[in-house]
Subunit: 160 residues, 2 copies
């Protein structure tokens, strides 16, 4: 084992990132192995639109937890792939309403069995004595009550 893994909790951010990157990269290869032209980074947008039908740019950004500029660049790629289309909101002219195209919906049907395989493989990997997904949820929940920064500042002040 290397020093970073031994450092434990202090390097947790690095390790989260590394794990995320590994899964994302393999995810891309799984789609490819099925002959599907789809990038894992598109998943949040596509999946959200599949359930919500029509959303504005900022609404999508909020759903997927990205900033709106990042979301715009994803939307541009998806529009180029003809998986989504957009039209102006007639009531609020500032808004651009995004929807899946029929090509997008077809692709989703094609991906569903792939998603099932991925789910199974990911469950194999993450469902152990400690369930990674549950662990993430629990940590997110803790942070939502009091952030890492707030906790650290409080400990600092108590220390004095």
């Amino acid at each position: 084992m290397n020093i970073i893994d031994e450092s434990g909790i202090l390097a947790i951010s690095t390790r989260l990132q590394r794990l995320s990157e590994q899964l994302r990269k393999d995810g891309a290869l799984v789609y490819k192995s099925y002959g599907i032209d789809f990038e894992p980074k598109w998943f949040p947008v596509i999946y959200t639109l599949y359930y919500k039908e029509t959303l504005s740019v900022v609404e999508i950004a909020n759903e997927i937890g990205y900033t709106h500029p990042s979301t715009i660049s994803l939307l541009k790629e998806l529009e180029k792939q003809k998986l989504i289309r957009s039209k102006k909101d007639k009531i609020d002219e500032r808004k651009r309403l995004i929807q899946l195209t029929s090509k997008g919906r077809e692709l989703i049907e094609q991906m569903k069995p792939v998603w099932e395989v991925m789910k199974t493989a990911l469950t194999q990997i993450t469902d152990n004595q400690n369930n990674l997904l549950r662990a993430i949820e629990e940590a997110e929940n803790k942070i939502s009550h009091q952030s890492f920064l707030q906790r650290a500042l409080q400990l600092k002040s108590e220390e004095k």
Copy 2:
């Protein structure tokens, strides 16, 4: 709850990344609140050199799990901060041996109490019914035996 969080395991890569980013950002602010000029991304290099004393570029890259070009750019920043220095290996002229400077070692002493506070705060956040760090270790371990890709391909072939 939003759609992405509901999608569960499929969006796990996105969520790992998001959590990592949050912790990294708050980490930066914690150092700042102590008046310490230190970026969280430097931690893996500094921490590794603290325990290993002298390492080459590629050795550091392997320890911290980054590619060597990424490591080189971190080393450049750290050299600019005068936290590390490097010299040619006399035996193998290709190698550049990296060490902490005395300024680097002093900074580490200054950071130690901050690291203790961080550890406590991070433990509060991550030690729940499912311990996040243990969950990561368990997942990494599973992957090391058989990757996400290999598992998915196997499930795919079994399916047919």
